[in-house]
Amino acid sequence: MKIINLDHISSKPLLPEVKAAMIEAINKDHHNPSSQHKSGEVAAEALVQARGSVAELINAALPKEVVFNSGGTESVNHAIKGVAMANAEKGKHIVTSNIEHNAVIRSLRRLKSMGYKVTSVSVNEKGRVNPQEVAEAITDETILVSIMHSNNETGTIQPIEEIGAITREKKVIFHTDAVDSVGVVPIDVQKMGVDLLSFAANNFYGPTGVGGLYIRRGSRIFPLIDGGVQEGNKRAGTENLLGIIGTGVAADITRRNLDQWYNHYKALTNKLLNDLPEYISDYIINTHPEHSLPNMVSMSVQYIEGESVMLMLDDDNIAVSTRSACATGSLRASHVLISLGLSHADAQGTLVLSFGKDNTEEDVTAFLIALKNVVTTLRNISPLYQKAAQG
């Protein structure tokens, strides 16, 4: 049974080369990379190699600026709480946006309960932050700006380079949550002017449970996890060596194929957007037409609810993601979609489609055919559609 996977924002499948490298690493019986004997040195060498590969993917000046950990969420927690703790004497004010991932929102909520102040700048109807508003939000007390690189619900990319220029001038530490961007679009931490950048390996065809935080040399940040001196004394605990080896291989292959994959993603996205009106009507595209991840389309199908769509497409062996309140644990409309000005009812019908390198144009067409049927079925059940049709 073939499943058409149109949900790559949640995770991308392991590359065959990554699987092979990880299996080989298992068979090598690696020792602890911190051990100083020969076996430990072999393990440490594997770690060095992987770190170099990731540093190259994001164009870090030095490999040691890459700190491996358990994934995107830990990276974000480390960036925000680590900077807050290390700079509390300087100030307790943080600037963010109101479309961040829960890892950011909840880390900041925790800090707020400890006396930190947070200013959250809003986005325009296209989902973008205005850098000028970030500049105006920064005060003498501001110790950190945290704005995501691309949004996990819309795919919209923020003007990170412009914000980076502002934070550099004002000498405020700048973190960007680039979990959904690294491996999909070119990332250059030096050009972007960021001090901290979060990434996750499973978003560039590496294993789940591995990610990292780029920490520009000289940035003032405390570890989130204390213990040994692993990872340049920035993240204690014996490294997930198998996962990190897989991450290094994934980073190498992604870097070499980034342009080709980018064009492939863009072709699929264009086909989807071009063909969509032939299949369904009454939908809203939430993804920015220009500044967005090439592989992602967020659309709100009006008068129906996303979880129902997702379940019916699943019956057709098509995997998609929805941002309907019903499908999330919190049962509340997505703060990101509401920030774009979407009504609660429209937000309910939001599907997030994200392509991977193995998707084909045939997949897009199969999805559109299935979507048309599902939308027709659900609109026949929906009281809203009937009302809208009656005008």
């Binding site: 129902s308 019903c326 309910q348 059940i381 009281p383």
Partner: protein, 170 residues
């Protein structure tokens, strides 16, 4: 996530549609997630002769609507008035805890439709269709924290067990 009975009613919902010239209509909206349900009744000799529904909502909301209409069809109004959300959830052999609120929609819409029928019969001016605009607990239904699944007291917006705010915060 859903059991087989729920998925069957979701995939093949019974009694979908509109009744032309209905004897009673009930429409409720769930403010928590934006779901909406409309129930149409055809009453013959104080019995539910026909019942149809339209629902804007998740898999659970559609399954609840379908099962509710199956339970209510053919019942006398007195019997139908006794149908609770729990009856619907039980007939569906259970819903995920954080989806139990979806079952509130069903029984509420039915009771509203019956009330609408009785009001029309009594010659009362037909009231505007009412949307429930706040999170109310009816028929003794419990609410659960969406994060830790513990039972919540009344209409609280904070879960003491896991210290989660139940309101979006910015």
């Amino acid at each position: 996530m859903y059991n087989k009975v729920v998925m069957d009613h979701f995939r093949n919902p019974r009694n979908v549609g509109v009744i032309e010239n209905p004897d009673g209509v009930g429409e409720v909206g769930n403010p928590l997630c934006g779901d909406m349900m409309t129930i149409y009744l055809k009453i013959d000799n104080e019995n539910i002769d026909d019942i149809k529904f339209q629902t804007f909502g998740c898999g659970s909301a559609i399954a609840v609507s379908s099962m509710l209409t199956e339970i209510a069809k053919g019942k006398s109004l007195d019997e139908a008035k006794k149908i609770t959300n729990k009856d619907v959830a039980k007939a569906l052999e259970g819903l995920p805890k954080n989806k139990l609120h979806c079952s509130n929609l069903g029984a509420d819409a039915l009771q509203m439709a019956i009330k609408d029928y009785e009001d029309r019969k009594a010659g009362k001016k037909r009231p505007e269709l009412i949307r429930i605009d706040k999170h109310e607990h009816s028929h003794g239904e419990q609410c659960y924290c969406p994060y830790c699944d513990i039972e919540l007291e009344g209409s609280t917006t904070f879960c003491n067990a896991c210290q989660s705010s139940l309101e979006e915060e910015h």
